[in-house]
C-alpha cells in the first residue's frame, strides 16, 4: 500500500554535507586522528598531576629511591685514608676536605677533591680515589724542602723546584737545610743547590747563599766573608776558590771578599785589619831596608 507520510529525502542536509566536507579536509582529519587523542591524553595527564600534591609525592618517591640506592652499604664511604703526608699535612688535608663520614660515594667528587688537595702548598701531587671497602684514599706526594729562603716576608721552606712550602719561624728548626736569600732566589734554587753541593768542602763555614740583583750568587761564609760568583758558570768559579782554599788555605786568612765575577781577574779584598797589618809589615820591611 502507499505510504502516507512524507517520503524520505535521500539528499544530505546542508549540515551533514558540510560536516562530511570538514571530515574530508586533510588538516581536520589529521587533527582528529592525532590532535584529539593527544589533547585528551595531555588533559588526563595534566588532571592527574594537578590534583593534590602529586608532583611533590612523585618527586619525593624518586628522591627516596635515589637515596635508597645511594645509601646502600656498598656505596658508603666510611673513612679517609691519607698516605704519603706528614701528620701536619694530613690535618691540613682533612681540614680542606670537609666530608662528613659516612658519606655516599655518589656525593663525593674525587676530581674536585684532588684539585683541592693539590692546591695545598706542601703537596706536589695528589691522587684521590674511592677504594673498595668504603675508604676514601688520598695519596699525596709531599714536596721535599730543599732550602730555607729568607725573603722580605720572612723565612720559608722551599723545595727544589722553588715552590714555597711553608713559613718557618726559626732557622733553628731546620739546621740541616741550606739558607738562601735575596730576591729571585726561589726561581734559581736548582743552581743554588748545585752551588751548595759544590761548597761541601767548606763545611759548616758556609752560612748561606745570597742572590744579588736577581742575576748572580754570593756565598756568605762566617766571619763575614763573601765569595762573589759570576753570572756564567758559578760552580766552576766556586770550585776554583775551593781549590785555592785547599792549596793556600785562602779562606782561613783575613779576607773579606773573594771576587770571582771576572774569571780572568779574580780579586781578593782584605779586611781593614789585614790591610793595616799588611801596610805595617811592608813599612817594617821598608824601614829595615832603610835602616
Amino acid at each position: 500500500m502507499q505510504s502516507l507520510g512524507p517520503s524520505h529525502d535521500p539528499a544530505p542536509s546542508r549540515l551533514s554535507y558540510r560536516v562530511q566536507r570538514w571530515m574530508l579536509t586533510p588538516g581536520i582529519r589529521l587533527g582528529l586522528r592525532i590532535g584529539v587523542p593527544g589533547l585528551v591524553l595531555g588533559a588526563a595527564v595534566a588532571a592527574f598531576f594537578l590534583t593534590g600534591d602529586r608532583v611533590a609525592q612523585i618527586t619525593g618517591k624518586i628522591d627516596d629511591l635515589k637515596a635508597m640506592v645511594r645509601e646502600r652499604p656498598e656505596f658508603m664511604v666510611e673513612l679517609m685514608a691519607i698516605d704519603g703526608a706528614s701528620a701536619d699535612l694530613a690535618d691540613d688535608i682533612r681540614a680542606a676536605l670537609p666530608v662528613d663520614f659516612p658519606a655516599s660515594s655518589f656525593d663525593l667528587d674525587p676530581d674536585a677533591m684532588r684539585d683541592t688537595v693539590a692546591a695545598l702548598a706542601p703537596v706536589e701531587s695528589a691522587r684521590v680515589r674511592i677504594r673498595p671497602g668504603g675508604v676514601l684514599q688520598v695519596d699525596v706526594v709531599e714536596r721535599i724542602p730543599a732550602a730555607l729562603w729568607r725573603s722580605w716576608s720572612g723565612l720559608s721552606l722551599i723545595d727544589a723546584g722553588g715552590v714555597r712550602i711553608a713559613r718557618v719561624d726559626s732557622r733553628k728548626d731546620f739546621p740541616d737545610l741550606p739558607l738562601v736569600a735575596g730576591q729571585g732566589a726561589d726561581r734559581q734554587i736548582a743552581e743554588a743547590l748545585l752551588l751548595i753541593d759544590a761548597a761541601a768542602p767548606l763545611g759548616d763555614r758556609m752560612r748561606g747563599l745570597v742572590r744579588v740583583g736577581e742575576r748572580r750568587w754570593d756565598i756568605v761564609l762566617d766571619r763575614d766573608q763573601r765569595i762573589l760568583l759570576p753570572v756564567q758558570d758559578p760552580v766552576q768559579a766556586l770550585e776554583r776558590v775551593i781549590a785555592l782554599h785547599k792549596a793556600h788555605e785562602m779562606l782561613d786568612r783575613d779576607l773579606a771578599v773573594v771576587d770571582m765575577r771576572l774569571a780572568a781577574r779574580p780579586t781578593l779584598r782584605l779586611t781593614e785589619d789585614a790591610v793595616q797589618e799588611l801596610w805595617r809589615i811592608r813599612g817594617e820591611d821598608a824601614g829595615g831596608q832603610d835602616g
Binding site: A11, P12, Y17, Q20, L24, T25
Partner: protein, 444 residues
C-alpha cells in the same frame, strides 16, 4: 560582454588553482540524472607539439577517483526550475563522489544542456604590426571579430578560435611565431541564456564549491564520443538526453556548431505514461526494459505487465503488448530525430565533406534506434560510447555518461578560448611604452 569575459577569466584562474591542488569535480547537470566525477591530476603528461590530441587521447594526466550518479530533481529541459531541489541533488551526487574519493573537492567544472544554445560564426582580420604573429596579435585579431547582436539576457559560453589564416594560407591551428602581413581568424561563439548559467552558478555556490569552468553538454559529449578521425574529418554528435537533445558538429578537432532540441527521453516516458495511464516511474521502467522503435511480429505476443496499485484487481493486472509500447515511443523518437535533422540542415551539415553522425546519451540505448536514425538522418550513423578514462567505474561507461566523461577531458585539456588571450585594451599602453623604448633606442 565585458564582465562575462572577466568571469570566464576568473573561472580559468580557478581551474588553474584546481590543477595545482590536483583535485577537481566534474558535474553534469542533466534532466534525468546528475553525475559527478572526482578527478585527481597526478601531473600533466607532455602536450603534443602540433595541435592534436596526444597519446591516450590526452587523458593520461588524470584519474577518476570518485564517481556518483543521482536522480536529477528540479530540472526541466536541462534548465534549473526548482533551485532548492537541484541544489539537494547536486549535494547528493557530490557527497557520494567525495565519499568514494575520500577527498574534499573545492572546485567544480559543470556542464548543462539547456539554455537554448545558439551558434555564431565570427571572423576577424587585422594587419600585423611587426609581420610576426605574437600572442598579443592573436588577442587583437580575436578582439577584431565583429560580434553579432546575440540579444540581451544571453551570455557567451564558448568563444573558440577554430581557424587562423595568415595572408593566403588558411587552416592554421596555431599561428604564433609565423610571419605574414594579415592575420584572419574564424571563431565559433556559443551563447546561452544568462539566467540558466546564473542559476547553475548559484546552486554550485550554495554547495560551498567554486565554479572552475562551465561548458555546453553537447560539446562535452562530442569530445568524448567522437573518435579522433571523426573530429578531424567532420562529424555530428547527437546527445539524446533526458530533457533536451544536444547536437554538436566537429571539424578539424574544433566544435563549429552546437544546438539543442528541447525534446528528450523524458518526453518519451511521458508519452508512455499518458498513453498507458501509469505512473512515470513505471513508464520509465517499461521504456528501459521493453522499449524499442521497430515492431516485429513477435512483439505482439510479448505482453508487459503494466501494474498499478489501486487495489482494483482488473486495473492492477493490465497488460500491454510490446508492440503497443513501441507504437507510443516511435513517433516521439521520430519527432526528436526530425527536429535534429532540421537543425543539422540549418547548420549546413549536408555540405560537410564527411557526414558521420554519432548517437550518444542515455536515449541512444533504445533498441533499433540506429536503424531509425539512419533512415532519418543519413546513412553514416553509429552509436557512440564515451572514451575510456582511468579509474572510471563500469557503471559510468554507458552512453549516458558521455558528457561527463567528455567534460573531464575538457577539464584536463581545455580548448583555447577567447578569454585565454590578453585583453587588447591593456595592450595599448604596452604598445606605447614599447614605442617610447624604441624611440630611446633609436635616438640614444
Amino acid at each position: 560582454m565585458k564582465d562575462l569575459y572577466h568571469s570566464q577569466r576568473l573561472m580559468r584562474q580557478m581551474r588553474r588553482q584546481a590543477m595545482q591542488r590536483g583535485v577537481v569535480a566534474i558535474l553534469d547537470v542533466g534532466t534525468s540524472k546528475i553525475s559527478c566525477l572526482v578527478l585527481r591530476f597526478d601531473g600533466q603528461g607532455p602536450l603534443s607539439d602540433d595541435n592534436s590530441i596526444g597519446s591516450m587521447a590526452g587523458q593520461s594526466g588524470f584519474r577518476v577517483v570518485g564517481a556518483a550518479t543521482t536522480r536529477s530533481r528540479g530540472i526541466k529541459f536541462g534548465e534549473i526550475r526548482a533551485m532548492q531541489e537541484t541544489e539537494r541533488a547536486i549535494r547528493t551526487a557530490l557527497q557520494a563522489a567525495q565519499k568514494m574519493a575520500e577527498l574534499r573537492v573545492d572546485h567544480v567544472i559543470a556542464c548543462f544542456s539547456g539554455g537554448a544554445p545558439r551558434s555564431y560564426g565570427l571572423d576577424g582580420r587585422i594587419d600585423l604590426e611587426d609581420q610576426v604573429v605574437t600572442e598579443a596579435e592573436v588577442g587583437r585579431v580575436l578582439a577584431a571579430c565583429d560580434v553579432p547582436e546575440y540579444g540581451a539576457g544571453r551570455e557567451v559560453l564558448h568563444a573558440q578560435p577554430v581557424n587562423f589564416a595568415l595572408d593566403h594560407r588558411s587552416g592554421l591551428g596555431d599561428p604564433r611565431g609565423q610571419r605574414g602581413q594579415a592575420l584572419a581568424v574564424d571563431m565559433h561563439m556559443l551563447t546561452v541564456d544568462a539566467d540558466v548559467i546564473q542559476n547553475l552558478a548559484h546552486c554550485i555556490k550554495r554547495c560551498d564549491l567554486e565554479l572552475a569552468g562551465i561548458a555546453s553538454a553537447s560539446y562535452a559529449a562530442g569530445i568524448s564520443s567522437l573518435v579522433e578521425d571523426e573530429q578531424e574529418l567532420g562529424a555530428a554528435c547527437i546527445d539524446l538526453g533526458g530533457g533536451a537533445t544536444g547536437l554538436s558538429i566537429f571539424m578539424k578537432k574544433h566544435m563549429i556548431f552546437a544546438d539543442a532540441v528541447r525534446i528528450g527521453g523524458d518526453h518519451v516516458t511521458g508519452d508512455i505514461s499518458m498513453g498507458l495511464g501509469i505512473p512515470a516511474a513505471r513508464a520509465e521502467w517499461i521504456k528501459t526494459m521493453h522499449g524499442g522503435v521497430h515492431a516485429t511480429g513477435m512483439d505482439d505476443r510479448e505482453m508487459i505487465e503494466i501494474g498499478g496499485d489501486t487495489g482494483d484487481w482488473e486495473h492492477d493486472r493490465r497488460r500491454v503488448s510490446r508492440a503497443e509500447v513501441i507504437g507510443i515511443m516511435r513517433p516521439r523518437v521520430e519527432e526528436i530525430l526530425e527536429e535534429v535533422r532540421a537543425r543539422l540542415d540549418a547548420a549546413g551539415f549536408d555540405h560537410m565533406p564527411s557526414q558521420q553522425i554519432v548517437l550518444t546519451g542515455g536515449g541512444s540505448q533504445i533498441p533499433g534506434l540506429d536503424g531509425l536514425a539512419s533512415r532519418i538522418l543519413g546513412h553514416q550513423v553509429r552509436l557512440g560510447r564515451p572514451l575510456r578514462v582511468h579509474g572510471l567505474p563500469q557503471s559510468a561507461t554507458g552512453p549516458g555518461f558521455s558528457s561527463v566523461v567528455g567534460l573531464s577531458l575538457f577539464a584536463a585539456h581545455p580548448q583555447d578560448e577567447w578569454w585565454d588571450f590578453a585583453v587588447p585594451a591593456d595592450r595599448y599602453s604596452a604598445r606605447s611604452l614599447r614605442r617610447a623604448v624604441k624611440w630611446f633606442r633609436d635616438n640614444w
